[in-house]
């Protein structure tokens, strides 16, 4: 069977915010670039982002300073945020946000015509000493939608090539372990092709679907993470999963932190605004990890709401219909649809819900993927780049601040695009992949296509999600996690034997789901082993058995090596270029 090949200077896998931003940069440069996305780009999960993009554009507060934003980001990440990366993001941020506005993003406005900014969790002025800041630039509560559509529109303007509804199966490496492209399948026709490229960018987003309850889209299956792990590349900080405080109870649909930014607050069954006890200063606008833990504590101590006492309420009715209609119209719609509650009249039932993967493919600020050599030193992976949620630069450390994900997308999408353009100008020349290199990237696909019988894909997926939900949730402990790791090892064996009943070619979504299941498995296992091995509590990773932060041993990134299933450590960057280091302090809100 002869396989067609497509050749590009750069292939960007993923059509969400970071992929489209990187593509835009490369399309403008005239490089032969394509965006390969398993859904039409505006169906990517960036579209669901609500509250806004946090950035010190000095609109709400003319004296705002990106260094304050950087301080919040480093503190929010519980000090394993790489400070050079946070510095880059926060200082370059305004340029990226203004660029989006110039491209047409319909930001909400203040009376003076400048971009509207709202308060979000973990924001402060003057390095935590000046009280709550309002730094999140918003387009009502549909900022992600507005941002994604704007980026897609500008890619159309610049004639970017799109391979829409194509699925990337696996990375192709040459004999030197350089990444030289990927195997991809056109979903509509089932055709499998070899995509050759000098730069392969994984912009595949998160993998929230490893959990049973998540705010993430059904497509968030960690495809890029799975591909990189199967290629033998390491992952960083995979134990760090953010549980968003306000997922709608039962449905898992996100309710933006902007609700609390606009003045909403959480109450328990006694109607008490309980965050006043856990975070006396920031209250409902403490870091997301802090708020999520406090909610779980309330529920565990019997103060949860509803018949089962297993959720709390988000109260918004005091804001009035006008504010709700103007600033949070999407939330009103979602709440009516998924909670049968009109927020203008009654509170929304909410519960902490898996939301964001802080970990991912370790990269530098140029998006270049990193592995470690035999001595534990950083080593660039030739040809491989990552940006957005799939990457771990790391600007989010152990806990991401609200509104920082959209900024991450555009700043590092752009940075990766600029770097690749420069590298292509200087000339990139890697050894071609041999037939056996291509065959090994095809192996997984062939396995599914030849499967004769075995367990069903939806059942195995549900089992995986249950294991993760039970053993690797908001609070974690050794014995549960060991149990979980064991179950996952068993599950891996069974997935390797599972059955794809539909072998047809035209728009075979069962095949896509099979390939996604492999990726969920990779992400789940990396998460489980990393969580088990990090023996401390930091940011989103909270353990009953190690309740305290252990800076002596764990002021480090964790780095997971898939071939040995081993967890190592990697130094955190404490050397920003233009500001003094933010030294680790006790983290309170």
């Amino acid at each position: 069977m002869s396989m067609r090949s497509l050749t590009f200077d750069a292939i960007i896998i993923g059509g969400g915010g970071s992929g489209l931003r990187a593509a835009l940069e490369l399309a403008k440069s005239g490089k032969k670039t394509a965006v390969l996305s398993k859904v039409f780009p505006t169906r990517s999960h960036t579209v669901s982002a609500q509250g806004g993009i946090t950035c010190a554009i000095a609109s709400a507060d003319p004296n705002d300073d990106w260094r304050w934003h950087m301080y919040d980001t480093v503190k929010g990440g519980d000090y394993i945020t790489d400070q050079d990366a946070a510095e880059y993001m926060c200082s370059e941020g305004p340029k990226s946000v203004f660029e989006l506005e110039h491209m047409g993003l319909p930001f909400s406005r203040f009376d003076n015509g400048r971009i509207y900014q709202r308060p979000f969790g973990g924001q402060s002025k003057d390095f935590g000493k000046g009280g709550q800041a309002a730094r999140t630039c918003a387009a009502a509560d549909r900022t992600g939608h507005a941002l994604l559509h704007t980026l897609y529109q500008n890619n159309l303007k610049n004639n970017t090539t799109f391979l829409n509804e194509w699925y990337a199966v696996d990375l192709v490496k040459n004999a030197n372990n350089d990444v030289v492209g990927c195997i991809a399948m056109c979903i509509e026709t089932g055709e499998v092709v070899h995509v050759k490229s000098k730069a392969t960018v994984l912009a595949t987003g998160g993998a929230g679907r490893i959990y049973a309850s998540t705010t993430n889209a059904l497509i968030n299956t960690g495809d890029g993470i799975g591909m990189a792990l199967r290629a033998g590349f390491p992952m960083q900080d995979m134990e760090m999963w953010q549980f968003h405080p306000t997922g709608i109870y039962g449905a898992g649909v996100l309710v933006t932190e902007g609700c609390r930014g606009e003045g909403g607050y959480l109450v328990n069954k006694d109607g008490e605004r309980f965050m006043e006890r856990y975070a006396p200063n920031a209250k409902d606008l403490a870091g997301r990890d802090v708020v999520a833990r406090s909610m779980v504590m309330e529920i565990l101590e019997g103060r949860g709401c509803g018949e089962k006492g297993d959720h709390v309420y988000l109260k918004l009715d005091h804001l009035g219909e006008e504010v709700l209609g103007k600033r949070l119209p999407g939330i009103v719609e979602l709440s009516k649809t998924f909670a049968a509650a009109d927020p203008a009249k009654e509170p929304i039932p909410v519960v902490p819900t898996c939301h964001y993967m802080m970990g991912g493919i370790p990269t530098n600020v140029h998006g270049q993927a990193i592995m470690q050599d035999a001595d534990g030193k950083d080593q660039i992976i030739n040809g491989l780049f990552a940006c957005g949620e799939a990457a771990c630069v790391s600007v989010h450390g152990a806990n991401r601040l609200g509104g920082n994900s959209l900024l991450d997308l555009v700043v590092f999408g752009r940075a990766a695009g600029m770097y690749i353009e420069g590298a292509l100008n200087e000339g990139i020349d890697y050894l071609d992949a041999s037939q056996s290199d291509i065959d090994s990237a095809l192996a997984r696909m062939n396995r599914w296509n030849e499967s004769g019988n075995g367990e069903s894909i939806p059942a195995l997926r549900a089992e995986l999600q249950d294991i993760m939900q039970t053993s690797f949730g908001v609070f974690r402990q050794e014995d549960h996690m060991q149990e979980g790791v064991k179950k996952l090892a068993d599950l891996r064996g069974r997935i390797a034997e599972a059955h794809l009943p539909d072998k047809s070619n035209a728009f075979n979504t069962a095949r896509v789901e099979a390939l996604e299941l492999d990726n969920l498995m990779e992400v789940a296992e990396a998460t489980a082993i990393s969580a088990l091995e990090r023996k401390e509590s930091r940011g989103a990773h909270s353990r009953y058995d190690y309740p305290d932060r252990d800076d002596a041993n764990w002021l480090k990134h964790s780095i997971y090596f898939p071939l040995e299933k081993r967890l190592g450590k990697r130094d955190v960057n404490f050397k920003p270029k233009t500001v003094d280091t933010f030294e680790p302090k006790v983290r309170t809100y």
Partner: protein, 236 residues
């Protein structure tokens, strides 16, 4: 009764010479599921049944389909809204070529979107910060920019069924007006010049199917009326 009778449009180009309807019995356990959840249950029974989906919360626009005769998004349509006599008929969006089962080829819909140049155009020098826009001017974009390109409107529009290659359709025109209405856009004249032929805008006969099906509650007919007003003002 908790067993729902679902009648589903099936077509696989590799094996079927013609489309047919297939019956499924789905146990809803008395819950008021979303139509998307019903599709998930069917997919567990029969993995060959295909449909698009992504965000499952009505913002990505993947799962537009025809449910008991009316277009909408499966993920935000509760059974109680569409099911009559315990029966649910699911078909692909009308007027677009079917690829397989509920999946349609949206190429022509996207081409009409691209045709209206759906991006801000501004010749003025770019300022160092954002371009200023008053809240009143920004308010003019409400009800326009929220479109999710699900094609529920255009595929419910007879004028689009007849002339999908010439009539821009409600979705494209809503976006066209989104840029015409933007105080930051300077290409108004060129945009209008592209629309004054007898098809692009004027095929709208104002029957408002688009308004009745829009899952985001938007009003393309009103936007089309505004474009006509602008064309008239510009030409008289």
């Amino acid at each position: 009764m908790s067993t729902l009778q679902v009648s589903l449009y099936r077509y696989n180009p590799e094996t079927d010479s013609a489309p047919y309807m297939q019956e499924f019995q789905i146990d809803t356990q008395g819950r008021d599921l979303m139509v998307l959840n019903v599709l998930e249950l069917i997919k567990e029974q029969d993995s060959t049944m295909v449909y698009r989906r992504s965000c499952r919360e009505g913002v990505c626009g993947s799962d537009g389909m025809n449910m008991n005769g009316k277009n909408g998004l499966a993920c935000v349509t509760p059974l109680s809204d569409v099911v009559r006599n315990n029966k649910l008929v699911l078909r692909p969006l009308p007027g677009l070529p079917v690829i397989r089962d509920l999946v349609v080829d949206m190429g022509i819909f996207y081409r009409q979107y691209e045709r209206i140049q759906p991006y801000l155009q501004n010749d003025d020098p770019t300022p160092a910060i954002e371009r200023l826009q008053s809240p009143e001017d920004r308010d003019k974009l409400d009800g326009l920019y929220e479109c999710i390109l699900c094609a529920c409107c255009s595929s419910s529009c007879p004028s689009f069924w007849w002339n999908p290659d010439k009539f821009v359709g409600p979705a494209g025109l809503l976006q066209s007006y989104r840029f015409l209405a933007d105080s930051r856009d300077t290409a108004t004249r060129d945009r209008l010049a592209d629309l004054e032929d007898p098809f692009s805008v004027f095929r709208c006969r104002g029957i408002m199917n688009c308004v009745s099906v829009c899952p985001k509650g938007l009003n393309p007919t009103r936007a089309i009326g505004k474009i006509r007003e602008m064309l008239l003002t510009n030409a008289t």
